[in-house]
Symmetry: C2
Subunit: 393 residues, 2 copies
């Protein structure tokens, strides 16, 4: 039984959090996250417009090479946004209508939406507190209980559907437990597609996330570590999948001097050159931005160490997080006062937000299969993101 | 029986076409279509980057207002590209998996793809030579024969499926016969969604195309009359559909100060601010560009009038075409020599392309229902687009 806390106590606690944030980032209204443009953004975008090649052009390929080089993924295919990149990756992973796909309930809704576009069903599993990603141990036990391998396919004994893939999501840039999740994907014959939308610049065991699964996805939306306005990328080491991703993202048109032959149902998913031009400049700034975000974490840590009942989320052991969004975790005593605390912070001009509502609680996904989700339920009212801009000084 | 024509004759004919094109647009390599940037393109894009709001921001709404004002559509919802705009429009039109959607076989493949994304089936119908759009008379007779109205739904008696919608496509900017197609859509209870991807600036009976159907779609891809790099827009006069389009294009997130509640399976389809900034500048140039494209048509007309066995495609009676792509129609005697003629033109540095392969002939769509398509089959090897840049002098 969690004891009641007075309004006065909550205001005092909120004030301490506000102080910690303002001591770190200064006074005045701050957004949760803004892009940092301090390199060749103008130069490349103007060059792109001057060339008139704003749709197809040299920057899209150049952007892919830069991301490929940074992540050490053999291939990188630039896509119009992260959701579309995930949708196409799932198509390439062989997910089909009626299949189930394992994913954490604690993620942004696009993970589930991308699965739904195929007519497949998300199957929600629980998370662990240290990474906020899928709890591997719990997932292993769960799959042992509910699934059976038949003809090489993992079958959900309860629904009768094939469980085709697993989509770990690296929450706020913190890597999930990839070694264990890879083991599980092999044990149960699931294709792993990493939703690394938030995790450009995050490493697990010195290897960039998004490169452990058969396919991985990054996002360059306006709120991400670097941005292309809207944009995403597919990472893969598999030559055939890379070729297929490229082909399908460009309406599956066969290369020909003049004829229009499309051999599959393709997509209009290629990242425009205009957006990629911005991305090329942003990739050049990435190391500086990541450094600044790590410094910000250290500054916040110093301040939040002084406050009881709240902890700043730290990168998991053996991992390097991009610290995309700085995250505080409230002690359980404050769980049910999250909204009040958020309102107090907003009132003081400090822009914060809670973690997403677990997807299994959203109307369109209430009836999807799910494991026990008690940890997600416990932690979702305790997590608040605080202003996380890279401060370049 | 069409008589054989000698290589020499084909080369001579090709030379006449080359002469006509070069007399009109000058010598030197010319692309089929390039963007025209001569206004505030860089000013607005720079302002957008300087504001740091490259994803969400003021330009997307401003772009919508400009398109709404120009087309006199009550609402315009800016979307990441034309294919996604059509996909979302079909969702909003109530098309569901298993339904059939009437569309011309002579169109770009995205029309069929957008239908397929829902799990619905394209149902191909024939076109008329004057507009290259759906032949309304032929469609009416066909629907009378194959369909029956049951409980207000149009049912295909052969497949048993519901025929839910009709998607006319305004080929190369030439308006289809909208009065008749509207009549048919009412008679057979089909929702009309106009694929006006190529037709910004085209009018039927002094009303902008894309505003006759329940929903209409424009594209701003790099090859279109004006461009946003990648981009599309949904037009509708229906307040509820407009609100739903906006909502669904932004992941169906309920407006809330901090909470993440999504009430439907939404999409990441909003046009980024960066692309819309370019679009705002382009919309300001649109009247000038349309004027230049009409002048180009007149210049071409003068030249092609001198050549036998070929005609320049003219806007249908009562319509105003944007003349997006200038189009020549070969007489039947040259049907089977199209490829040779195209190669001759390419060899002379004149970039031309044929009309698309009819979609019913593409592998992924071969098994879809279709009416008699004899006119499409007859005209597809006779149509060639010639360089169509707006020449601003």
């Amino acid at each position: 039984m969690i004891k009641e806390i007075s309004d006065k106590n909550i205001q005092e606690f909120s004030n301490k959090v506000i102080d910690a944030i303002q001591c770190t980032i200064g006074f005045g209204e701050k957004n949760l996250h803004e892009p940092t443009f301090c390199g060749n953004e103008w130069t490349y975008v103007k060059d792109c417009i001057d060339s008139s090649f704003v749709a197809l052009g040299k920057y899209t390929g150049e952007f892919e090479r830069k991301v490929s080089s940074f992540t050490k993924s053999k291939h990188a295919i630039a896509i119009v946004n992260g959701t579309s990149a995930l949708h196409l990756s799932l198509v390439l992973a062989g997910v089909r209508a009626g299949d189930e796909v394992i994913m954490p309930t604690l993620t942004f809704v696009s993970t589930a939406n991308a699965i739904s576009y195929i007519g497949a069903k998300p199957h929600f599993v629980d998370s662990e507190i240290c990474s906020l990603g899928i709890d591997a141990d719990k997932l292993r036990s769960y799959l042992k209980k509910i699934s059976v391998i038949q003809n090489g396919n993992c079958i959900n004994k309860i629904t009768g559907n094939k469980i085709k893939a697993i989509v770990p999501m690296h929450v706020f840039g913190h890597p999930s437990n990839l070694t264990e999740l890879l083991n599980i994907s092999e044990m149960f014959n699931l294709v792993m597609v990493e939703d690394s939308a938030e995790a450009l610049g995050s490493f697990f065991d010195e290897r960039h996330v998004g490169t452990f699964g058969k396919l991985g996805v990054l996002s360059f939306n306006g709120n991400k570590t670097i941005t292309t306005g809207g944009g995403g990328i597919i990472l893969t080491d598999d030559d055939n999948l890379a070729e297929a991703a490229f082909h399908l993202s460009k309406t599956a048109k066969i290369k020909h001097d003049y004829e229009f032959i499309h051999d599959q149902i393709g997509f209009n998913y290629r990242m425009p050159n205009l957006n990629a031009a911005l991305g090329c400049a942003q990739m050049e700034q990435l190391p500086t931005i990541l450094h600044a975000k790590r410094l910000l974490y250290k500054k916040y840590q110093k301040e939040f160490n002084k406050i009881e009942n709240v902890a700043l989320l730290k990168e998991p052991l053996g991992c390097k997080s991009n610290y995309w969004l700085q995250t505080i975790v409230l002690d359980e005593v404050y769980s049910k006062y999250r909204d009040q605390i958020i309102k107090n912070l907003h009132h003081a001009g400090v822009m914060v937000r809670p973690i997403w509502t677990p997807i299994n609680l959203l109307a369109p996904y209430k009836k999807c299969p799910a494991s026990d989700l008690s940890v997600s339920e416990n932690i979702f009212p305790r997590i608040i993101n605080v202003p996380s801009n890279a401060i370049l000084t």
